[in-house]
């Protein structure tokens, strides 16, 4: 969506405890809201299920990267120590699987680890230092001791006044509008 300065992007509401947050999410979803997000200081059990978020698939990506790293390292060792520059040391075979295992393993772990780290920030679209939410009054408690619920303005059920009233009714201690920065 094209954002303009001050465009309403959605409402965010502050709750005092994870239980209240989960309760509010369940109620809003029952009323037909689908584009919800939560902002919490630590992982809350049952939050993803409540928001109906699918399990992350990044582990498959890491698995593929690990396989690639292992294959690459094994190929590289064969290529340089057997194919390009075989060394005869005491008549031992130049293509020796057991001694290639270590570097193969380490490269597998390295590729899988770096890929999972990089892909985490890629799928989260981070780093992003300027975000409309950071301009919301009181939002800094989202990383400290409060649990915030966001309702996207694109949600068909969204209605600025009605949604705000519903959030207050659900026990939100503060309801704020997030507005576009650019």
């Amino acid at each position: 969506m094209k954002q303009r300065i001050g465009t309403p992007l959605g409402l965010v509401a502050e709750f005092a405890s994870p239980e209240q947050l989960l309760e509010a999410i369940a109620r809003l979803r029952a009323r037909g809201y689908r584009q919800l997000d939560a902002f919490v200081p630590y992982p809350v059990k049952g939050l993803e299920a409540a928001l109906d978020l699918r399990r992350s698939g990044l582990n498959y990506l890491a698995f593929a990267a690990g396989l690639f790293g292992a294959g690459f390292a094994f190929w590289l060792q064969w290529f340089v120590n057997h194919h390009l520059f075989p060394l005869n040391i005491g008549g031992r075979p130049s293509f020796a699987i057991p001694v290639f295992i270590i570097v193969t393993f380490e490269t597998m772990v390295l590729f899988a680890g770096v890929t999972s780290f990089a892909s985490l920030f890629w799928v989260c679209r981070l780093p992003r230092l300027a975000h409309p939410l950071f301009s919301v009054n009181g939002f800094e408690t989202a990383s400290l001791d409060r649990f915030w619920l966001g309702v996207n303005a694109d949600d068909p059920t969204f209605d600025p006044e009605g949604t705000e009233a519903q959030l207050t009714e659900l026990g939100a201690t503060r309801v704020e509008m997030a507005r576009g920065l650019t």
Partner: protein
């Protein structure tokens, strides 16, 4: 699951009932409160140590490694001893952060951050020694397979490229794992600190983290993945290091017990270092409510367990030397190590690593901070001596008696060892001052879990 949290005789994992806001303030405020003079003193002392490292390293590179006590046949002495010692220390950090994470051990929560930092700083010191030992460290890139104009390549059948691969992977994965864990806490500092420059600096390092549930679903998976990937590294890194020795023919080295023996020794020495750092940290910051007696108790028990694996490995080494019946091996194990030159390090090893940990059978030693701290220092010394025994004492007595030689370290050898301790301490003091030492996000999660558990029991 949900084992009761408060059933251990040494008390709960979090003492008292603080709210999330109080915990954040308590655990993060050292970053923004005014610094006392004692911090300046800590910076001062440790930076002198770090400067000593700079001096001795520069001297070594400038003049050459002839400054060291190394000579044929003792070509690997202090440098490789220090390398193995430091990298071993790193292992407990990974053990705590990765293996205890996978086993859902709640007591890891408040100590994993600084234990991982300890790993990173220890691996940095370790990496320095093979580089300096090259003599011409500016050619270290010859270890990396790159298309050189001479068309030569690293020999992957040698243990040195294995070491390079293992240590590089270990450092990188540890760093990524540590940083992934620290991001939510950096965001908390960004949002809580009263100082504007800290909001900017910590905001940049927090990468714009906002705790969104749609991010957390990826975050939790990746954090678990990195834990899963770091877990085999705990076992593989020191196994690879031990291969440097085990694949050689030298009596005292040529043994299949080496990989598990080294891994056990690494975790043993690492837990000793965790104890050495943990006891002062909780005193200085007043964190006794989150690093409780229970944590000290558990670490001491880990030392006892791994200490017994180490003791068993010592026994196996001697038994196999005798059972194998090879004369040179028998001589090294039964005459060379216990009665040869520098044999006092052998007896110190046995005393510090086999006798001292037995004190941890008694709860009194596990629950008295200062006593446990002194014992942990002795174990650190013992583990350094163990590596010195394996490396220098074995090399002193090879197959050819005409080459036998008694090793003597020089001032530069001691200076480099002391200098790395200085740099390690300096980095650690900086870390304590400027990075969230306790993972506040995880501690608040645990705190919430415990208080809910309490409410359920009361109901």
């Amino acid at each position: 699951m949900a084992a009761p949290y408060d059933d251990a005789p040494t008390g709960p994992l979090i003492v008292g009932t603080r709210t999330d806001a109080e915990l954040v303030d308590q655990l993060l405020s050292p970053i923004w409160t005014r610094k006392s003079r004692r911090w300046l003193l800590a910076y001062g002392i440790t930076s002198v140590g770090a400067l000593a490292l700079l001096v001795f390293a520069t001297w070594t590179v400038w003049t050459g490694i002839g400054l060291w006590g190394n000579n044929i046949p003792v070509a690997w002495a202090f440098a490789i001893t220090n390398f193995v010692w430091w990298i071993g220390i790193g292992h407990a950090g990974t053990f705590i952060s990765a293996i205890l994470l996978l086993f859902e051990q709640k007591w890891r929560t408040s100590i994993n951050r600084f234990a991982e930092a300890m790993t990173l700083f220890a691996v940095m010191q370790a990496g320095l020694f093979p580089l300096l030992h090259l003599g011409r460290p500016w050619f270290f890139y010859w270890l990396i397979p790159y298309p050189a104009s001479m068309e030569v390549w690293p020999n992957f059948k040698s243990a040195l490229p294995w070491d390079a691969a293992a240590v590089f992977t270990y450092f990188t994965i540890s760093l990524l794992f540590w940083y992934t864990g620290v991001v939510p806490d950096l965001a908390a500092v960004r949002d809580r600190t009263p100082k504007r420059w800290q909001k900017i600096v910590y905001g940049v390092f927090a990468l714009g983290w906002r705790g969104s549930a749609s991010h957390l679903r990826h975050y939790r998976i990746v954090y678990g993945l990195l834990g899963g990937l770091a877990t085999p590294l705990v076992l593989s890194v020191h196994s690879v290091v031990s291969s440097d020795f085990a694949i050689a023919q030298l009596p005292g080295w040529h043994s299949t017990i080496f990989p598990p023996y080294f891994v056990a020794g690494a975790i043993f020495s690492g837990f000793a270092m965790v104890l050495t750092l943990m006891i002062p940290i909780r005193r200085v910051f007043g964190f006794t409510n989150v690093i409780t007696d229970r944590h000290v108790d558990n670490v001491c028990k880990m030392i006892l367990v791994t200490g017994w694996i180490v003791a068993y490995s010592y026994f196996c080494e001697f038994f196999l030397a005798w059972y194998g019946g090879e004369p040179a091996e028998m001589y090294t194990m039964f005459r060379g190590l216990p009665t040869g030159p520098n044999c006092w390090t052998f007896w110190l090893t046995m005393f510090c690593n086999v006798v001292i940990p037995q004190l941890f059978w008694f709860r009194w030693f596990r629950t008295h901070g200062l006593v446990a701290w002194v014992l942990s220092l002795l174990i650190n010394v013992g583990m350094w001596c163990e590596r010195f025994v394996i490396i220098a004492l074995s090399l002193q007595r090879g197959h050819l008696p005409s080459m036998w030689h008694a090793y003597r370290p020089t001032v530069v050898d001691w200076g480099l060892l002391g200098g790395t301790i200085g740099l390690f301490s300096f980095l650690f003091v900086l870390f304590l001052r400027w990075v969230p030492v306790i993972p506040t996000s995880e501690v608040r999660e645990l705190n919430h879990e415990i208080s809910r558990e309490g409410k359920r029991e009361a109901a």
